[in-house]
Each structure stands twice: as C-alpha cells, then as structure tokens.
Symmetry: C2
Amino acid sequence: MGDAIKSPRVRYREQVREEIKAHAWAQVAATGASALSLNAIAKQMGISGPALYRYFRNRDELITELVLDAYRDLSDTCRAAATPGDPPETRLAAMASALRRWALAAPHRYLLIYGTPVPGYAAPPEATTLAAGIMTLLLDAYAEADAEAGTAAGGGPASDAATALDDHLAAHRRWAADHPAPASALRRALTFWTRLHGVISLEVAGHFTGMGFDPALLYATESDSVGASGEVRSR
Amino acid sequence: MGDAIKSPRVRYREQVREEIKAHAWAQVAATGASALSLNAIAKQMGISGPALYRYFRNRDELITELVLDAYRDLSDTCRAAATPGDPPETRLAAMASALRRWALAAPHRYLLIYGTPVPGYAAPPEATTLAAGIMTLLLDAYAEADAEAGTAAGGGPASDAATALDDHLAAHRRWAADHPAPASALRRALTFWTRLHGVISLEVAGHFTGMGFDPALLYATESDSVGASGEVRSR
DNA sequence: CGTGTTAGTTAGAAGCTCTAACAAGAGTAT
DNA sequence: ATACTCTTGTTAGAGCTTCTAACTAACACG
C-alpha cells in the first residue's frame, strides 16, 4: 500500500539505487566508510564511473543514505527487541542484547553511526529523529520501571553527582520534551546509552583484542548496572 | 642526557620530521585524520610533494607517528594527574578529570586513538605498551583502594554479573599478568575505561549536541560511579 | 680535495571525485 | 504512428590524491 503504482522509470531508478547501496555496504563492511569508492562500485556494476552521479549527487549523499539505512535498521532492531507486554527490565535486557548483536554483526555499520564523524559531514535531521525514537523506547521502559517501584528505592539517584544530574536534566530536557518520564529516567536512559556504547565501541574498534578476556561478560555486567537484567541474554 | 651529540644531518632530519608532524597535527585538528594530505603539508612547507617521502615512508607511517604521539601525551597526562601521595579515590578523580579535558582540548586527537580505526591499519606495539601503562595507573589505584577497604564492602562486586566477570577475569588476566591487583580491581579499571570513554566518545563525536544538557554533569556522575569521587573536578 | 650519502627536484603512473558535453534509448503527447 | 522530451548512459578532462623513478645539487667526512 505504501508503494503506489510507479512508472517503470522510477521503478528502475529505485532498483539501481538499491543495487548501488548494496555494493556500497559490501565495501563499507570490507574496508570501512572512509575507503568507499564510487568508481570501484561502478566498475563492479559494469557501468562507467560518472554514471553513478545520476543516482547520487556525490559521495556524501551516498554515505548519508547508508547512515540513514543504518539508523533505520538499528531503530527497527531495538523496537523488535522490546516486546510491548514484557516487564521493563526484560525489555531493557532484550534491547541491550540486541544492540550488541547488531553491532558485532557489522562493526563498520556501527562505526558508521557512532565512530569518527566525517570531516565536513552533518547528520541529516531524520537521523536525529530515529535516534530520538530509540531513546523513547528506553524512556518508556525506565518510566514504567520507576512507576512500578513507586516512591521506593527503584531507580533513585545513587550518588550526589547523580542527584545533581537529575536536577540538571529536570531543567534541560529539550531532547525528551514530549515524554512524561521523570528526570531520573532520563538519567538512566542516557547511562544505558553511554555505558553500553562504551563497551561496544571499544570492542568493535579492537581495543580489547590481545587482552585475553571475553567482552561479552563485561557487557553483561554493564547491562546489569543499567537495570537491564532479564533472562534473554543467551538467546 | 638522552640526546647525545648528533651529527648536524640527523639534527636537521629530526627537526624537519617534527615540523612535518606539526603541520600534520594542524590538519588533523582542522579536518580529522582521514583528510590528512601529505601533498598539502609539503605545499605549506614550501617543498615539493615527494620530498616528504624522505622523512616518512608513506601516509600510514606519518599517522602511526601521530597516534604514538597522542598515546604518549595521554599517558603523560594521566601520570601527571595521578599524584603519587594522594589517596586512590583522589587519583582516580584527577585522572578522570584530566582525561576529559585532554579529549575536549583536541577532539580529533582523541578520535585518532579511540575513533574508527583506519582500514588496513594495525596499532604499533608501542601503542599497546603505552595503553597498558595507563591501565597500570588505574590498577594501582583500585588495588590500593581495595587494600584499604580490607575485606569490607569496598569495591566488591555489585551484582551476579559482576561476580561472574570477576571469576572470568581471575582466570583471563593476560593484559594484567604482572600486576598484583585482584580481579575486582581489574573489573573496576575496565569499567573506569569503558564508562568514561562511553561519555567522552559520544560527546566528541557530537551525539549530545542539540540535546540541551551539559555532558560535564553526566561525566561527573559516571566518574562517581567508578569510584573517582575526589574534589578536583572543578580545577 | 675526492667521494659517498642525503635532500631536494621534476616526470609520471594510477587512483580518486566530480563536471561538461554529447549520443541513444524510453516514455509521453499529439 | 510520429515527434518530442526527459533520462540514462557514454567519453573527455580538470584537479586532486599517494607514491615511484630518475636525476641533480649540496653537504659531511676521510
């Protein structure tokens, strides 16, 4: 229903664009985004270099498309992991587990989003929207967990610094303006993000190689520390 | 004393190498390592492109030199922050604070080490050595904190996952083989690294821009969470 | 004062992104 | 059915990159 009847021209155009992106992903997976070559893609497809510029204005536009695809895929993955009926802790654990699997399945895809930004490159607005959507899933879970715990311990701040951060977030929550979650939920969602990203990004960049321990256990510990302690870890 | 009497040739050579690296750092700071151009550096220095290849075998070797410089500088910074006589918590707090300042002072320098690795690039052994040196500072602090706390709570594992990680690290500690710190100290040192890196890397990559909160407070909270709770934060 | 090493040069190969100008096909309108 | 337009491909080429080859000039040393 989404794809109305399209003229064969635009059908062909979209098909070629997808084929170009497929080759681009293969290159990204092999050598990383910085080494992506439009010329090489054209050669692989049996067409001439400049022909690609009919489908993408320039290299940056192609990379932007890849970035958006990655964000969309990550967003879908998180959404699929967070089963609506499940208790919040289970959802958080499922998302944490899915996040790492998603990153390890294609490290360069993860780095395309969270790695070194390209020099003059600015992320498109849709990327921000998609990132916000993932944040909403986290906020939903933490808000629900907070509500269940009532006024009891639950996710209350664990230190003076956390209290100060909560106060600050209560006043600076532009990114979660239209979400009813309390400041402590914002803090915990941010912490979920930074702690899990901390482990994943060092792992995919290879900083743990040669150290001899299993990053999965470190990841599990960090997942636990952000309240993502369900039973889905070994699925 | 370290620099013995050198012939004018090697003196000149080293001087030019340093000048090249200085220009390279300027380029890295401006546009990031991926856009570093040997040709542009040569033009800035008023010499011809291929002349640079007398001083660096190729682009990778220059980047490797920059990476090593960055590691050396980071190592020195951490060592300088951890004042020997201070209590371990104070040293950890000072290192945490110095780490963030070091990263924000030159974001691209941080990304050169911890960002997306270059495709075919392998970090030189000396980089690993320097990274291990920083780890030793952390292990020293956590081991000392552990000893002070005796068998009491202190830095004991906070969850089942942490206990499992401790057990695993006790058996897989190749990276800290010659350090007497207990497994819990290894765990806490790793956590120091991943949690602080999680915040810093997202901040320098610009993922917090537009969200409207102050990353410094999030960083302070994470510093606290790894036992780096001294009074040096606002120095 | 020769002699060998070293630092620079220019020329050029092979790659890249991207623009300009042109040929040929596909779809559409008359 | 014919004519027209729009799109997709082509080749040529500018300008950038890394990096090699061959050559010259200067410097340090025996």
